[in-house]
Symmetry: D3
């Protein structure tokens, strides 16, 4: 089976999940005026929200027996536990431990998710599979990619 | 010009706008348990949020001179003032006068927007043009339509 | 709460689900040539498949206490049991009892799903809520709507 | 076969096609100022363009033998000949006979396509199948529906 | 003409095609239990199916005379012959020579398409143009990229 | 605030804008026959048009105080001035200075936009932020990426 995999083949597998969350962009270290200047209507005191679309890409060599890079059921469980349970239907500033003391911009969110998944995937996935990219689409017009650089 | 419009032609014109807002589904008239039972994680105390995609459909007879149902610039201004300014980057429960004392479900939101636009379009648009439909997509999976029934 | 609902308001709520299935368009009552003529490459003996995107629309009066037309958790359970369990990752011709002795075209599939849900929603949903529309997108280019007519 | 079709079932089948065209909104019966006022940057002398996404919906009773409303290959041929050949990679004002002496707004385009297809489908399709709806998406934000009213 | 191309410019051109196919994930070298464990409902004996969306990216220096990287008509013909004719409306396990003796996972499919196109594009395209990336979206949530590594 | 940014983090921020333009693919240095051969119906004398979807990606280190790579309001202003004002509702061959004497293919357009933005972003953005990628989707099927190589 899977002759095509006799030589090692490196693939990039992307799983997309969505979570719906509120957030507020506001830095208490700055003046009210600076906050309004920098964050505009994103600094609205009661917050606003988004349907965040998150693309997680892992890479590595395809397993010759299964034809898979990794067990997608396991990856789904990791994302359910680490991403959905933590961020979905939450207020990012108030309900998420890892975002305390941050301005939860899309940039900060992408990096935080990278840091969380780097640890989580270490425990769950086999050797050779690494987190390659975290991309978040905040709206259809704005997105941020982080590659661990 | 526009021979095709010699006979009256009724069209439906749809304009799509997006706004990003936080909300919380919680009815203070009900017990905590009932709220948790009915609204589940949507009742999270600090709220969550969405990219709401709103489709506004107006209908009427095409103008023979312009080839338009209505002046789209005017409709855009109405939607900017009545929808974007009111709902975008807001917390629906706390920042929107018209949603005070409601559970801002997608259903209630669609009906409220219908009521607002029925008044607003009365002032702006010419005779014969009526609001036909308000559709809100809360996520890619859930949407609500209201037709004034 | 929910003053806006003091008068009855009829809304249409749409839930979208996806299932991935194989099928073959072939009518054993017809000759091989007729099958090839009518169904073309859709009659391929070993079948082909689709990501079916299904939109289920129910309509009725919004509940004044909850602000919902219906309990979406319940609707999701019905769709999970009646649609996903029955059609997802199946061969429509071979694995689905309700499609035995049919040509599982998108038209037949939409009607069959209507018939299934009419019964299923009778058991689950409260009075006044009716199935309004079943729409299936077979590809980005082809879709079929059935309204029970 | 197709027991489910023993009773007549009315369905709506939608086919989506895309064409890429240039156009200019300008009414020579009006003054330059009026044109600028009404059409804004859409009146740019050299024109601009769009990827028009066109949804054609036909309705009727499903055929009991084939399980189809109509032969999709035939509908595709009609749309290829009547829509793609006529509008794709054309300048709507200058290259399309049927749009001479019109302001090719999305409204006028939808109505013109309805008129063309009403004739074309009369010749090609069997009795009982009627054109139900023509919808054009000019951009992701603007669309027009015409139902022959 | 095309002063901007006086210096060599390397671009990446992506063409997207779709094919609809059935498949089954099952490895006969493994036990029934292992298959059920690894492939879950994807191992359903009669198969299931997908609308596969395939993005082919080629890269190279833009031709100074034409302004094109390559003749898109030619690329379309290659993809028609090598991809559509081979995979569309087929059962991947049973109808496709190149996938015999494989588990046709998205990973294996992406690699197989890369191998096919590497040969096919060698014959058709001019020097300097290379296959850069093959991406397959199996569903809206899962995709695999292969870059020849 | 923003402990996560204590170490420098490089992100890629993408902003998507759309413009609607007409164009014609025709090289006056070539014969009529060569033009027809190379550009097919894209060489139609009166032009055709597209909804161009443009993705601009900039990269750099996230600012520790703001949590942003850059001020999105400023980037939007640059894109409004340099892209929308220049290309939207224009005929690319006739109305755009920078495309004079070019065949405005998607390749040439992507490179031209790169050249324009490289200059424009030099003036507006802070040190360390560089233009990373320009991607244009001409249709849902064709896109071109340019990375300054």
């Amino acid at each position: 089976m899977n002759e095509v995999l006799k030589q090692p083949r490196k693939v990039y597998v992307t799983r997309t999940v969505e979570f719906n969350a509120a957030h507020r962009l506001y830095n208490p270290d700055l003046s009210k005026d600076d906050n309004r200047e920098i964050y505009g209507k994103c600094s609205n005191a009661n917050g606003h929200g988004h349907n965040y679309e998150l693309e997680i890409t892992v890479s590595g060599t395809v397993d010759r027996t299964t034809g898979f890079l990794l067990d997608m059921k396991e990856l789904k469980e990791v994302l359910e536990k680490e991403i959905i349970d933590r961020f979905d239907h939450k207020h990012l500033n108030l309900d998420v431990e890892e975002l305390r003391n941050t301005v939860p911009s899309t940039e900060v969110l992408a990096i935080t998710i990278w840091d969380i998944l780097t640890v989580a995937l270490q425990r769950y996935t086999n050797n050779g599979i690494t987190l390659h990219e975290v991309t978040i689409h905040e709206t259809r017009k704005n997105s941020v990619r982080y590659l661990g650089e």
